[in-house]
Symmetry: D2
Subunit: 392 residues, 4 copies
């Protein structure tokens, strides 16, 4: 009965019919001119979304995790040192991947709910007299905690320390939903995917790569073939792929970019902020707390919300799914059981958000949460009403 309810997981996101149709296409010859004419502009247009003019966009038929692997194997060698702050599930996973690839990983552990610690990065970099640190890894938007980090501040810290390390950023759950300025922030590799802000199926890792990172590619000795930038760039330059391309996703991406540009990136960001703020008003009305520690950290694509002491957030999300047919994000990692997440990114509307809020309210009431039924919806309604004009 619930096939038509939206999902409120923080990705993959609800796919607009327009994009489902764009991906509903028959096989075409990927060696024919038609493909070249489609793919080249997709790469170009992605640059605008990354906010880069000097960088290069490289895609792989993989998930965002594959994008991470591509970023480190193409720029590093076994034994190289990377500096990472762990403040959520996805930074944690990135650390694990680096370790498994034989890198020295210098970890700065932060409380979950905080963002990238520019000051601690600066300290660590200053302490690295021998410049052994090759890369600083940061997650722009921690999907597990609903925390958006200040990447520009990280760059400023790196510059302040006068350290030549590169800056790699996971923007899987922020790109095309929240402002991202690769060039302005001095990001060397930004990793994203097709299934979040781009509103498509999962299956395409999308990377913005700076000239500095491309230069590092030549000396990097970590083994790679599928994810090799060099093969991909050489093939792309000839309008092709080093292996079979994900045709349907590429045509989908072309349409996705059209949609984003038609709406206007600034408007896309504003819409996400408005949707998110409505959700936050509801959280406040419920008397619950966000995992994100302070307003400047609030993510506009996902809110992670602590349940009251003594309640099990997994029971809540499970109940919402079983009883009302609506999917919310569970608490990940150390937040499992303690928090649930509302994804509010992609092609979403205020009206859809209200249905999610109404649903989780019912689920909380069913499970005897100390939450007033209707209170969150009403708070969100007030906010959406007050800001509706801006939406038109």
């Amino acid at each position: 009965m619930s096939d038509q309810n939206p999902v409120f997981i923080p990705g993959p996101t609800n796919i607009p019919d327009r994009l489902l149709n764009a991906m509903h296409m028959q096989t075409r010859d990927h060696r024919a001119p038609d493909f070249v004419e489609t793919f080249a502009p997709v790469l170009e247009d992605c640059k605008h979304v990354f906010g880069t003019e000097t960088g290069q966009v490289i895609t792989f038929p993989a998930s965002g995790t594959g994008g991470w692997e591509a970023s480190i194997t193409n720029t590093l060698s076994a034994g190289d040192t990377v500096l990472v702050a762990r403040y959520g599930m996805f930074s944690h996973r990135w650390i694990d991947m680096c370790q498994r690839h034989g890198l020295e990983v210098q970890v700065i552990d932060c409380e979950w709910g905080s963002g990238a610690p520019a000051d601690k990065f600066e300290q660590a970099l200053r302490a690295d007299k021998d410049k052994k640190i090759k890369v600083v890894l940061a997650t722009h938007n921690e999907t597990a905690t609903g925390v958006k980090s200040d990447i520009a501040a990280v760059r400023r810290a790196m510059d302040a320390a006068g350290h030549p390390a590169m800056l790699f950023v996971d923007c899987v759950s922020s790109l095309a939903s929240m402002p991202f300025e690769m060039d302005a922030w001095g990001v060397d590799i930004a990793v994203s995917g097709s299934q979040k802000g781009f509103m498509l199926s999962t299956g395409m890792a999308i990377l913005g790569v700076s000239q500095k990172a491309l230069a590092a590619m030549e000396s990097a000795t970590l083994p790679r073939t599928f994810f090799d930038f060099r093969d991909m760039m050489a093939a792309n330059a000839n309008g092709g792929f080093p292996y079979t391309p994900p045709l349907q996703l590429i045509y989908g991406m072309r349409e996705s970019l059209k949609m984003l540009f038609e709406e206007g990136l600034e408007n896309v960001y504003a819409r996400h902020h408005r949707l998110a703020e409505g959700v936050r008003r509801a959280v406040e009305a419920w008397g619950l707390k966000l995992c994100a520690k302070s307003p400047e950290l609030y993510s506009d694509t996902v809110s992670a919300i602590y349940v009251p002491e003594g309640f099990d957030s997994n029971k809540l999300t499970e109940h919402a799914f079983n009883t009302y047919g609506v999917s919310f994000g569970i608490g990940l990692g150390q937040m499992n059981g303690k928090a649930f997440r509302i994804g509010h990114l992609g092609m979403l509307t205020d009206v859809m958000c209200l249905s999610g809020l109404a649903t989780i309210e019912m689920a909380m009431a069913d499970l005897n949460y100390p939450v007033e039924l209707g209170s969150g919806v009403r708070a969100a309604q007030e906010y959406y009403r007050a800001t509706a004009a801006a939406n038109q």
Copy 2:
């Protein structure tokens, strides 16, 4: 921005992806065995939905209005008398059609918001000593007023009067959403369409026809070809159509019937009742009034709701559409400007209903309605919670 919001017009209804996919099919030869094997069971299965074992199902590639025209042209001759009660837009239109086909139309005018007047029908039939009345026309569910009539009572009245007239019923907006018992209620022709309870595109009129109505067909002299039962039945008997069939809709209908039977018709009806009751709780909480005059008349597929004196319902629906991208039904006929309608039929969920209620509340607040924001949503939430178990 609103492409993914549900519609709350009382039809065409939100189309489940499963049915959109079923209709997404390439041309096949409608003279090939494959077509026959698909179409014959569709006609058979529709009988269950109409509640008939002795009747026949006949379809035409047309809207419900075409179904009406088929019902009268196949059974009547110019100058024949029909008895109709006018209690809404759709009964009004049926009267107009009869008059334009040269029928004598005996009209019983009722207040909008009331249902089929069994007692007045009985009176009129008793008064018809010469049995000139050939047909009694009734609308099962008046889409304009949100009124469901008691068709069984109409039949009882006809029987009580000992009158041989046939009974034709418009069930366009009730079939496959609310119980309909063609045989038990002694309905001679029931007229429906593909775009409401069947959750498909518009384009297929679907009629249940009793043996008595089929017998009348032989003497009827109103001209018809496209809508001629005889041509259609003869062609159907050979597995074909007298002209090109609407292939995609027929395959869609097959899948729609599968969905209805998988859920179970009783469950489909119960779901519609539950969704409707939630909406009615909201209306009550708002302090507004339904057009339907009393609970037994409440339709489970559409609610027509009076706006307070001094407000213009057209501005409300227009505002909801322009500001929040959600479509509600406008007030039709004499209710234009005075009422709006919430369609809650087809493949809808409680979660979707809540989004509609939240939206119209915002719109009412924007236009300074004396309605407490969140009150309707909360009332519906309470009801949906209390009845959620039944939904699983």
Copy 3:
């Protein structure tokens, strides 16, 4: 196994993915501005395809047969006289419909395989001293015989006879595939449908109506409601429909018109001619005969081909379907068993045509036809090669 083979029935035609996708759309509110903005240009653009500037385009959610019924019920009254030539199945059906609507039908019987007899029309009109004949009915493209008539000649004959009758033309299987010039040919009503040259699903009758026919509408007394021009035009003028519109088909039509204009109508016609000529070369190579009696009658959308004496064409089409999974048109009416038909209209390519020719050749060989295997394909290949440049 045959799901991906093209069909070679003369309609419904193979639907391009682009149009299947255009029709794959969720319900939208047909009373919202979006609908108006879509539908009005569709009507306007259809005028170009009909070749009319002074006429009006009117559509109904019905098949072409419904379009015929609309044309006569909106312009004629019981007892009116119409003049028709019968030279195929579809002119035959039109005669039947007129008779069933109480019209006096003056029939000129012609041999099947011939076209509209301008000379005999002229004779009959001259003989009609009292100008009782209200309409001349002609079929532009007889789908049963593969004959294209010279409608301009019919008009010249009518003018030569100085007769004020209107001219109604069935162009269901020619419009948007072969040149049609409503204004230049003095056509008063031209009847078509969505499922042939427009490459869509069945379900939309499309009529071009002259001012003269619109004037006739006022005095016509044949009963009609569903097909009433007046209701439809009044509603259309307000951007709506008198009943629920076939939304998906209207969006499909918009995309179909885009495709036709992108290719260019002249190129569309040239493509159909080229495809048809290739088929005719094959027929010649097989030593078989077209039903169409002379080259100027050859239809560019369908070829009806006599099988040799002693063979049953139904067995041939059945065998082709059962053994190779390809649908061809059967012989209709008096040609049943004597001829089969190859539809070559809509979004078809030379390559697809060759697969049809290769298939029917195999089927003929299987049934011991005196036909050299490969001969037709080769003749068509030669022709397609020679004319391929023009295709680019």
Copy 4:
């Protein structure tokens, strides 16, 4: 104009509408029970297609090349030796990948057009006294040359040599189209993808992995995360994925398996053989030569065909595409310019094959090839006719 022509590249293959529809689905929560219930049977059912009962199926959201990378990184360590025969483009690429991952690659160079050299493998293995060779790599179906190798013979050779090496097989372009017997042939890893015999979009690497290969996993030290068997198997065991799964492809795979089993794998193989044999008859009639050196090497999924001396195969395929809108495979590697390829795998019919043959014939005639127009089509027609009964 050519949107509806089939492609004859050896993959991705023509996608049946049924599978396009299966992949046309809205986002669902991949952490919900629905996903588990879909994915687990997919893995199980894939085993039948691989012909394994004791092995495990592992998938990754990647192309076949990613599958290769997974196979070596999960089982080998830098410095390990592998034995490969190079007899085409894809074996060549596998060698390159191994070298880039720091493996010692012992290459047996064979003439293109020959298959896996069981005898030379045996020799090499016997010579490997220290058992340094960890894996023998073979390509079951060389897509570049249209050569199918005898994998059972390779296994026999390995056993004869008494060598413990594992056997890895690329079956990307053969699985689900030609018989494959993983267990019977002693294959340790078989690598395939979604876009060939499974008739889906590109984007899913599918591996069959033996218990022996799984055991090797524990000691393998090549770095991997995205492609790590252990993460994937652990997540799969809990009904999930270690990262976002390619939902649409998984649902597509479920439907693809249904289609394959409905037709019956044996029938699928027989159909491919029949289609291929028709193509080979055409090649023979043209007087051209296959790259595959002898009949037992003929691939049933792709035919690579030498053009006559003095002709450029690239001009041929380009001309076929530009003039007739049909894609054929170009000659790869050392066959570039010397051969073209006809892919005849996936959901293809004899009728579709004939259209491809007719097209390439026209293209050859246009370029003055010494080939009789129609000769290949006719030869294929004869064969298809003679074997048609088997197809029903």
